[in-house]
């Protein structure tokens, strides 16, 4: 909690709303103050004020991904980007848009569609904002066609933890002027800077979108079908879901020019006996698979590893959402086994499960992120399975970009 004088100082910031409401609980910290600067300049002032008062903030957009990250060492206010919204520019001739960070993704998407283009970003949940999606590098199901958030951003205006408003990249589609700092900021989860606005490269609206579904009797076949389907020209998304005892489902979204989509659909039908379903089913399956569970893990995997890993994990009571073409797997669970003592999070019952995950990650030459976990578990382990090698550099980066730890200290990999 911040003191009286600090609160007074923040309340006096120009062009910046300060709301005190019902405390929001994040990772065991109760935060009642929400600071919402209305312009990039007000954002600068807000961060400078926080810095001067020795306060720390959690940056929030739509709030969908706040749960991802290590426990914050301190967090006195929520710094909302809601006031930084708006479509600042949209060049319909070449499909380039400059959008405020607080712009709801739905609004940005609608603006793009109106101009005859499509916004190549997936919303991780309702109310998602552009800034939030970029800060979290939230990869949605359509990244097979859209590519990753890092690939669609041309330039960013950000305010660093130091309070400096700075720009990187620009509005042109090809640019190597200076370091590519946008890559560093995207996915830094509000620990280095607050994104104020972004230049986005839109993509042509597809002539046709189709969602196909195939069922598969066994896990292996579903994984193979998913990988095969991912490699079609017009495949924009391919998800394989495994929930409880239900049959695995393979959902393939095709998007693009009419001819290619229709041809691909025909071939998929012939190979996998697919049926066409409502386009909305894709997001519904995803929401159901991820929602509600007490523990959720994101595990990057090479395509060739899916089958074996899914087989292995399926002996545990978990729900799996696999993106074989994108190369990652979501694992969500509430208990590690069927015995009465296997409820999740009790005592050391999780240790063997994480040992298994570590082994899988080692074989995959990667790691994983525990995206959702109870506080006590987060206290025990780094939610990013971070190797020690880049730690000194990561620390030095934090030190330079956010010297006083204004932006969610401790939240990043290595608890930096």
């Amino acid at each position: 909690m911040m003191g009286q004088s600090a609160s007074h100082r923040l309340a006096g910031l120009e062009n910046c709303e300060l709301r005190e409401g019902t405390p929001l609980e994040i990772d065991g910290l109760e935060i009642a103050s929400v600071l919402a600067p209305q312009s990039p300049e007000a954002l600068v002032d807000a961060i400078l004020a926080l810095r001067a008062e020795g306060l720390a903030a959690l940056v929030v957009g739509g709030g969908n991904r706040l749960e991802v990250g290590n426990l914050a060492q301190r967090a006195d206010v929520l710094l909302s980007t809601r006031g930084l919204s708006g479509v600042h520019e949209l060049d319909a001739d070449e499909g380039i848009a400059r959008l405020g960070a607080g712009t709801p993704l739905a609004q940005a998407r609608a603006a793009a569609v109106e101009a005859g283009w499509e916004l190549p970003l997936d919303a991780p949940g309702p109310g998602a904002t552009l800034g939030g999606v970029l800060a979290a590098a939230a990869t949605g199901p359509r990244a097979l066609g859209y590519r990753q958030p890092r690939d669609v951003v041309l330039g960013l205006d950000v305010v660093l933890g130091s309070g400096d408003l700075t720009r990187c990249g620009g509005r042109v589609v090809k640019n190597v002027t200076g370091y590519d700092l946008a890559k560093l900021y995207i996915g830094s989860r509000g620990t280095l800077c607050v994104i104020a606005s972004a230049w986005i490269r839109l993509v042509p609206s597809p002539q046709r979108v189709l969602l196909l579904e195939a069922s598969s009797a066994d896990l292996g076949a579903a994984c193979r079908a998913g990988l095969r389907a991912s490699r079609f020209n017009s495949a924009r998304s391919c998800v394989v879901s495994f929930e409880g005892d239900a049959e695995p489902r393979v959902l393939v979204e095709l998007a693009g020019d009419e001819t290619t989509v229709v041809n691909d659909a025909d071939q998929l039908h012939a190979e996998l006996e697919t049926r066409t379903v409502e386009v909305a089913a894709l997001d519904a399956v995803r929401a159901r698979s991820l929602g509600g569970h007490r523990l959720a893990v994101r595990l990057p995997l090479l395509p060739s590893r899916f089958e074996a890993v899914v087989e292995r994990l399926s002996s545990h009571p978990c729900s799996l959402l696999a993106y074989p073409g994108l190369g990652y797997l979501h694992v969500a669970l509430d208990r590690v086994g069927d015995a009465p003592g296997d409820e999740f999070g009790e005592g050391d019952s999780m240790a063997p499960w994480f040992e298994m995950m570590d082994e899988i990650a080692r074989e995959a030459r990667g790691g994983y992120v525990v995206e959702r976990a109870p506080v006590d578990l987060k206290q025990q382990r780094d939610v990013f399975s971070t190797s020690s090698s880049p730690l000194p550099v990561l620390k030095a980066i934090k030190q330079r970009f956010d010297p006083d730890g204004v932006l969610a200290p401790g939240r990043s990999a290595g608890r930096i």
Binding site: R150, L160, V173, V176, D180, L181, D257
Partner: protein, 485 residues
């Protein structure tokens, strides 16, 4: 050309111990050829050149340099056009040409593990039989290396659809300026914390020495169609590019060559039968599923014709397409036929601004009485105005530099930037202020400092040596920046 008298014999001895005597060059006349890369305007010989075989040798070299206070400069094939591999001020060049092994190819998961000295085109050749290729295809791909491409975030004609190097690098091993080895990224894209791979790609060798990389391999498209639009002038060709982009088509490449360029390549070993009477040629390439390409090619043809194309042709077969690309990629070199020296520019503008920018670029050339030709990645708005000149003519040389500056200022005024794929290097370090302000550069320096606090890794690149641009240029900060209170 004489080696600096301050070069310590101990440094040379240390380097020889690190890589072996044969792999350490220190005679002044050997160092002479390392005084520049493909940008010959900026020179400075290194004090030594080492040719390490592996990561461990690079680490030893870096530690030796640190022990003797010598900066060091990683170098690929020296085909860079921004002076990124020049090594002035007592630096040691770490030439990566011998680290040229393809360590692993995984066709199923579509990646390759390579050393930095692997030549770009060799990688695509090596995986062709697996139905894969390495997508970034800079014009110098027959010679340039993956390591150099990573440093510069190199592009190429097919960037339009496939993205630049940064979209294809999954992991790097980086020897830090203190000799420690940093492993970043993984073949499955895992990167805890921040996207440091993304930060290293395009850092022009200033954060460390990349000694290994894992790169993405892309499936060879099912079919390719190459459409050749023949235009009376370059401005009309640019208009066609605008309407193709607006139409929602995503060609894999949209390249324009003007008449002077066509003549130069048609006179060279890379002659492809491009029409000499054309004022400009637009090469539009489409790839993907065979069934979809025919209507798309027809649409491109219609758009080109309504933009003013005199006629539109199609490459008859793969062989003819190859010839077009060889001609396109040999274009810079072919300019050597026009004059002894060539200044290859590289700037980017919004694609909707191409027609007016091109008209103005040509006017700048004319105003300064220079031989200027254009061959460029039109689909990306990435211009390459090439100015042919003779460096022995002091006056002409001065006009070339002035025209270059005017072109950059023009592009920035139009909402563009000063480099799209060649990098800032030494060439444009004093122009970076046209695009970025103090605080923007300060943020970049934060990144630099986190990796290389003492600025010993490829010093003198990217960052301005003077403050002139930022302080005095009315266009500094570039485009319509949000006003700062």
């Amino acid at each position: 050309m004489a080696a600096s008298p301050t070069v310590s014999a101990d440094l040379i001895a240390g380097l020889e111990a690190a890589v072996g005597r044969e792999a350490c060059l220190s005679r002044p006349d050997e160092l002479f050829v390392y005084e520049c890369d493909a940008l010959t305007l900026h020179t400075g010989p290194p004090v030594a050149v080492v040719l390490p075989q592996d990561t461990a040798q690079v680490q030893r070299v870096v530690r030796t340099c640190r022990a003797h206070g010598a900066p060091f400069v990683p170098r690929g094939a020296g085909t860079g056009l921004s002076g990124g591999a020049t090594a002035p001020d007592g630096a040691v060049v770490i030439e990566c040409s011998r680290m040229n092994r393809i360590l692993e190819v995984n066709a199923e998961d579509r990646y390759a593990v390579v050393e930095p000295g692997v030549v770009n085109a060799r990688l695509s050749e090596a995986v062709e039989s697996l139905g894969l290729f390495y997508a970034p295809d800079p014009s110098s791909q027959q010679a340039c290396t993956i390591g150099g491409n990573i440093a510069e975030n190199s592009g190429g004609p097919h960037t339009l659809k496939y993205g630049t190097t940064t979209n294809h690098v999954l992991a790097v091993s980086l020897v830090l300026p203190d000799g420690e080895l940093l492993e970043l990224g993984s073949p499955c894209g895992w990167s805890p914390g921040h996207d440091l791979v993304g930060a290293v790609v395009g850092s022009e060798g200033t954060l460390g020495v990349v000694t290994r990389a894992i790169v993405r391999l892309t499936p060879i498209p099912e079919q390719v169609e190459t459409v050749l639009g023949i235009f009376p002038d370059v401005v009309k060709a640019c208009r066609a590019v605008g309407s193709i982009i607006r139409s929602g088509l995503v060609p894999s490449a949209l390249e324009i060559l003007d008449q002077r360029t066509i003549h130069a390549v048609e006179d060279s070993v890379y002659a492809a039968g491009l029409p000499r009477d054309a004022g400009a040629v637009l090469i539009a390439e489409l790839d993907g599923a065979a069934s979809a390409l025919v209507p798309q090619a027809e649409q491109v043809q219609r758009l080109a014709e309504s933009a003013g194309a005199l006629r539109v042709e199609r490459a008859r077969d793969a062989e003819e397409r190859q010839r077009f690309w060889k001609a396109r990629k040999g274009a810079f070199g072919a300019m050597g036929r026009l004059a002894p020296d060539l200044y290859v520019h590289d700037a980017v503008v919004p694609r909707s601004k191409l027609p007016e920018v091109l008209a103005e670029v040509c006017a700048i050339g004319d105003r300064h009485g220079l031989t200027l030709s254009n061959v460029f990645h039109a689909g990306d708005g990435n211009l390459h105005p090439n100015i042919s000149f003779d460096r022995r003519d002091e006056d002409e040389r001065a006009r070339v530099l002035l025209a270059g500056q005017e072109i950059l200022e023009l592009c920035v005024r139009m909402g563009g930037v000063i480099t799209g794929e060649h990098g800032v290097g030494t060439e444009k370090r004093d122009f970076i202020g046209l695009v970025f302000g103090e605080s923007d550069l300060e943020a970049m320096k934060h990144l630099r400092a986190a990796f290389d606090p003492d600025r010993v890794c490829n010093p003198g690149k990217i960052f301005p040596t003077t403050r002139f641009c930022v302080e005095s240029n009315p266009h500094a900060r570039g485009y319509d920046r949000v006003p700062l209170g």
